[in-house]
Symmetry: D2
């Protein structure tokens, strides 16, 4: 009566650090890898037959071993290698998806210069990628950034919205705009250099965020997406998720003080949630 529907399995949070030891500096990257497989696994679920199962422990080892031999310096290239390996060596697998997050390690500045072998975490944001390989189809590759915490202290308004019996929010022509953005763009054609493409993407996002005369989170989000598509010609589509992390002006009139947009309470919950896809 019951039957198996869509299913997938794999290994998550496979952490791997790679240090490439050049003569004059060390390149260090820390990745967290997630691998998900789809394929012919029906009887594993229904009968407990494991003969088609590549154990998730082996998937973990595959990540470590391929990392050793790989010459990829970007997470996108390494994810592509992993997908290719898994499909080539596992006929029972019809689709392999690899997601990688790269932590934001940067070389420490010592006496104003990047130190050759010392790093610090330079922000909460992580670089992300997802590479999806389906047998017989072209790879689908996306890049992104997750956890980008940014804030502007002006050029953000919110007025002219619907008023109903539950409205208590006052209109504002000058409010704080803070978010923790997750942004992912899909490639239609592949860029020659993923890191350069990502740098262009992020530069366009930040510049738009900083300079925008925002009439709403939606308004700024849209223009950020448009800017990214202009900056990264290979990107076909970008998805932006930008929660509105409210900074509430404190009512100081109760204490005989004014508050000319100076004192705020930053909050985590509840938060606004805005999400959209911008595409060519």
């Amino acid at each position: 009566m019951a039957s198996l529907g869509l299913n997938r399995y794999g290994k998550a949070r496979v952490r791997v650090m790679k240090v490439v030891r050049y003569d004059d500096f060390h390149e260090m990257k820390e990745w967290s890898v997630k691998v998900l497989l789809q394929g012919n696994f029906e009887t594993c679920f229904t009968q407990g037959e494991n003969h088609n199962i590549l154990p998730t422990d082996t998937i973990k080892n595959t990540v470590y071993s391929l990392a050793r031999d790989s010459t990829s310096s970007t997470l996108e290239d390494f994810a592509t290698e992993l997908v290719a390996y898994l499909l080539a060596n596992n006929p029972q697998v019809s689709q392999a998806a690899v997601e990688i997050e790269e932590k934001n390690w940067r070389q420490l500045l010592i006496d104003g210069e990047p130190h050759a072998t010392t790093y610090a975490i330079a922000g909460p944001e992580v670089k992300t990628t997802e590479v999806l390989g389906e047998r017989g189809s072209a790879l689908k590759i996306s890049s992104g950034i997750d956890g980008l915490v940014i804030l502007k202290t002006t050029k953000s308004a919110f007025t002219g919205y619907i008023k109903d019996k539950f409205t208590t929010l006052p209109e504002s022509t000058d409010r704080i705009f803070a978010t923790r953005a997750t942004i992912t763009w899909e490639y239609d054609t592949l860029p020659s250099d993923y890191e350069r493409a990502r740098a262009s993407a992020i530069e366009s996002l930040l510049k738009t965020f900083a300079e925008h005369d925002s009439l709403s989170v939606q308004h700024t989000l849209y223009d950020m997406g448009v800017a990214l598509l202009a900056a990264v010609p290979e990107a076909q589509r970008v998805k932006l998720t930008m929660p509105n992390l409210h900074c509430l002006p404190v009512d100081l009139s109760r204490f005989g003080q004014n508050n000319p947009n100076q004192i705020f309470v930053p909050t985590d919950e509840p938060h606004g949630y805005i999400e959209a896809v911008i595409e060519r």
Copy 2:
């Protein structure tokens, strides 16, 4: 050149606690509500026009106010009320989705009896629901449980899997099976009592987990799904996500000791990841 694709917005993490004060005891529930709207919001994104925007602050107030008047005692019923209200009062909205999590508060046992007005958190799992209302279509309602941390010390094996050059995992006929399950079922027809349906669902899941002769996570996951569909006739489909939180036997032979399946290192990362839909 660029255009707006799929988009939605709303308010997340709206926490609300409701205390119903009966003569002989207080019923207390704590919910975290997420509301997401779709509709005619194109010019908000592209032009910064807000005349169609119901502010997320107002959405929050709507949650509080409806909670006051509501007679719903289940999260499913309250989410349904919210969806109905939002669609009825916002012609610009074509689709409203409400997700609610309910914390696992239980009345404290004092001298062996549930105390009338005192509660404790009884486990990390939360009750969940999602109600999706699209204008002109029937509601889609699902219920679930998230963060259910369970473990069995025996009746779990994993053998007969693919061996390749990256295999280092030894086969095991008696291992620890630990997971943090997320389980969601969709209703085809609506149950007369969501809480009774959920209780049947969870009882079937736990009983199957406890008694199953597991040949793999997949194997047990499938039988748990089958059991749920048998226990909840109104459920059409169930999705189970069950990470494998590995408990690794410690190699004590290095210290001249044996380890007859007694001493383990529980780990959080990496973890196996298994997910499937079981449907009628």
Copy 3:
């Protein structure tokens, strides 16, 4: 010019799970162990000499190996064993402290009966202990509970406090009282059974919390401490830390509704913080 002051080192978050396999059920415990050593380590810091250093990796292995041979069923007894071993085998160590947290695993109820080999996490609270051994002195042993999330919906008031120009809080004769308590008691003489002592301690804390006519968090905290000292004759002193996790009544008058103590917003920050030692 500079000199080394107080210092200590060791290993934290050593997770170990022990399964004792009786004929008719399995006893499973999961501990997270922290070991901190003090002693003659001056030249390690100042000269980089490691000949007196027991590596933290070895400390970890010691935990695993002793767990195998130990017959202790309580965290207090196992911490005592670890302290004794470390002092006996490391003359360079003058003081060893061991802290253990035990997760709140409980046997699942299946058909109303505890299942012999299946467990679930039954609450966020953990059992805790700290055993401190200083060469030539008696052991200092404390037990506790951390992360106990409890709430009462009535019998909690807060009135008669100082009013000044920053006062905005209205007095309340019936408010929600929610906390996430951390409670630790020190033993003067050792109980014959740590688990029975802990059970008495927690029963006294919960009963007092539930039944107390609270005039403030301080008031209830004190009576909880007094009750614990009465329930556990071997305890000399108890420290209670009880943040006040405010549940704020929502002002519904803006929406034409009353709020007879029914609808609240639970909050995590800011929170009140109350801490005291109660001693004989």
Copy 4:
């Protein structure tokens, strides 16, 4: 029989953001404030008398109001103001302690220049301070940094340690050294500029960490402390807590590969724990 021992209370996680709007840029700071009071509160605990209690809600309002009028630009100066206000206005309080954390917001670089009104979180570390005021005594002021995540890929060894029957760690002359440091220094005399003192402190810590030929975590920690005392003449004492976040070399020989110090598994638990005070 029971009596009240040491006790304190106050408000934690009071978040406040201050924006100072200069003509050509905005200075924005986000603080999380904790206030703890000691004093004459005996009967509050024992009798439920609140006439000596300054509510924690009022403490929160005091933080907001003083932030409005304050001209302090450093967390140390603002904490000092708060302590002074609380002691001056609350005769029942004998001791006030204020701890503040400042998030690591930095002006975004747009086209290579700091943007006047836009910020991003630039790292997980927070600036910290604690100011302790006891009636009749001089203030005790400390500054610090918490959550500084740093890593060096070379110049870190660990050899010559004790070997016993539980030793499995191989000696290493070239390992990864990663930590999440918490560092606090106490001022004997007050610096003229806390921010300049902090900048000198951190520069000395990072430079020593980067350039040190480390023979152990202890060895580097000590030299970092010595460097800080040299860089900040007003500091009398510095406490450094530096967990050893192990990056384990992967054994690739099982897959027919070597691993010349290239591929590591970064781990969070268990971790080494090293803590020391360095003083003049």
